[in-house]
Symmetry: C2
Subunit: 177 residues, 2 copies
């Protein structure tokens, strides 16, 4: 997962994959078939893990506005750590593979929809607990958060300054008020 996440699909070589997994070429192919199958398994693992983290962050027992803010602020803080410097694997694959590969395009779309759903539920919770303005359309706000999350991750992958990401968060979060 980390090899594909950091390098992208095309640039990930067989040697990179063998040295990361510690497998021999024959056992890698026996288990996963080919590079594309291995990639799909890695991408699935990434999506599953990330959605669980998002759900946990958005349901941390605090007012929803604060849960959302903490999730984004943590993401911005993490962007500076070398092990999180790869941006979002879904965004990366949306860029690298989705335009040419309908299977990947479908997985990317499903992933964006799952993230949108998670944000929409958090926004409804925030409108119920009073932390998010009730006159805003939850679906619109959720989609806006998905797009901002993708944009922030592209910028983080390009090693943008933290101040730029923080400024964006300030304006983005005000949309919830």
């Amino acid at each position: 997962m980390r090899v594909f996440w950091s390098k992208g699909y095309e640039a990930a070589s067989l040697n990179d994959i063998l040295s990361a997994t510690g497998l021999s070429k024959s056992s890698l192919y026996a288990t996963f078939g080919d590079k594309r199958e291995l990639f799909l398994a890695a991408f699935e693992a990434y999506r599953r893990e990330r959605l669980q983290r998002l759900e946990a962050a958005l349901n941390d027992g605090q007012p929803a506005r604060l849960s959302i803010e903490k999730f984004f602020r943590q993401g911005v803080a993490h962007a500076e750590a070398p092990e999180h410097a790869y941006g979002c694997m879904t965004a990366n694959e949306a860029v690298e593979l989705a335009p040419h590969d309908l299977d990947i395009q479908q997985l990317v779309t499903e992933d964006f929809q799952a993230v949108e759903q998670a944000f929409a539920r958090a926004i409804l919770r925030g409108q119920a607990d009073g932390s998010i303005a009730r006159d805003k359309a939850p679906r619109q706000l959720a989609r806006f958060l998905v797009v901002n999350l993708q944009g922030l991750q592209v910028m983080a992958r390009a090693k943008s300054q933290r101040a730029l990401l923080e400024d964006t968060l300030a304006v983005m979060l005000a949309a919830l008020d």
Copy 2:
């Protein structure tokens, strides 16, 4: 430019490049040196062209709020045309190459800064002409617009539904009011 823009750097083959340019292998190498040099020239052409378009759109003689809105709405409408379905080449390279290639990272950063500058000037103009709220910090708003532009282009490259992009625009533009 179109070959790299649509396929990305790694996936663009020599054959793709030869058939798009109509050059022979020897004259391609004589003119550009190698694939990376050719890519840098293509990327430079893209950045120059796109910045000119952005500047023209943001200085179209209308109130700045409307200029910004038209620029984004046109982008969303264009995203559905096959010839514009590649997203933003800067965002693509930010994802594919910037994490591993410091020269590209530098070019991507400069490009994001130039776009931020163009938005910041438009926002100042809008605060002067009364179309954009004066209590907002222009730099913050400009950075927020850069991140949204990148996010919208990632989503467009993954062939997201237009409704999703439109919903995002509605919330994003309200930040100017």
